[in-house]
Amino acid sequence: MKDFVRFLAAWALLHESADEGWKAAIRRGEGLEPGSMDRGPDAFVDGLAALVNDEKERLEHELASDGTDDHGPRPVDLADKLDAVTFELAELRGRLESLQASVDALASRRED
């Protein structure tokens, strides 16, 4: 039993140390200037830790909000939506042009 508790304590200690190291890397990464991740392995790891942390928080928020985000859509979603609506509009224009061609053809046949 003692060995088992000691194993769990070792696991907790390892986890705590890793967690502290991770948080420190995030702090350092957040302090980096944009574009400075290529200054060496340490800067890369710190920058990556900050990026992962950002994504983790975003994911945490998405999971908690169950897709009903009251902060509104992200810019990338807006761009996608704008693109989709623009395409639909162009598609509709195409349909109208095709219908117009059919109407013109029927009208010219009636005139004949």
Partner: protein, 452 residues
Amino acid sequence: MSERGRAIAGVALRRAVVALWGVRFGLRRGRSRRRIVARQLRLACEELGPTFVKLGQLASVRPDLVPAEAVFELEQLQDRLPAVPTDRIRAIVAAELGAPPERLFATFDPDPIATASIAQVHRATLANDYRPVVGPVLRAGASVAVKVIRPGVEGRIAEDLTVASRWASRLERLPHLKRLGPRSILAEFRSSLRSELDLRNEGRVADRFARDFADDRLIVVPRVVWRHTTRRVLVSEFVEGWRLNELGDAERSGIDARGLATHGAEVFLRQVLVHGRFHADLHPANLFVTPDGRICYLDFGIVGRTSPEQRIAIAQVLAATVYGDADRALRYSRELGLDVPERDAGAVRDAVATLMRRHLVGQEPADVRGFALGFLSMLADFRIPVPEGYGLLVKALATVEGVARSIYPDIDITRTAAPFATRLVAAQLGQPRRLRERLPAATRAALREILA
């Protein structure tokens, strides 16, 4: 019985007798028998004309409905007919668009560039600029392809389908064939055929494909000129290039054939697994390679669709297949509706593993078509029905390989499919909804592992 009905019955009977003789009146069994019958079925379709050629083409993308041997035989259907005189084509254009082609276009070539069972294609040039739904403006003088439905083809198809309906009703009375549901299969094919006879549907699909691949500079989808497009006439950008079945060593030498074949395979996987909308009539005659080394998609008459749920399961089966993991492939196959009876599970698993070893894993290059044919035949041997989405995947993979090899004969598409499927599976696992589904079970499993 109408004259056409008698003609159809005559061809069907003659081909059935030849098939019966070929299978030695039932003495030949299994795959050999199915192969002989499939060949006679293809020849009968070619003999019976446009309706049956089209029905055969539709059947060739549905391994869930017809045996594997027929699927791979029917994809070879020859869809060529003599040209319709240009005056009759002119008359259709004038009736559809209100003016003869010479007044609508700057130039119109009276000699067709392609003739098939449903439509004939002529080359022309635009008289004015046109802004398409997707892509830059087509300038006056740009070359276009004018696709026109052949005169009388709609009436002929309606007449043939009426005869086929009567036959389907008769066949449905036979207990052995009733479970296949010939009437519902015919109804489904009738609806697909009706959609194909309205060329506006093809134009819409082309626009959607163009949008799906707008960011891919190696893919060309001809821009549709809606101003001159109606139910029976489709006008789209003319793209110069070589059809894949015309691609020789000289043409290949000027382009990065290997890169293009790899990209072509990935693009097709993107259609099936990302966009959920794919060119289901993909064969070397429907694809062009342009002189500047791009792939041009043509003829969007038959389009397949995959649901988001199917896409996830298909990606998993695909990943498991290309990595040679039979257990995983069968596990995810169940999510696509493949129902392997418990008593056959071990034998089916062993058969799949053998097929993977024989055709895929460690083979240089892998033979996906051989695997697909062997796999579907094995399911038929075990009398396991093929679900629609599943048949789609197997056929799609074999098609991708055929097309990619037309561009670069030595390509191994599993090398493209493996990283693609892995990325896709990883991306799907990273989606919030999937994570939300999987996190509780993953946490429980991790705790169990630690406390074990």
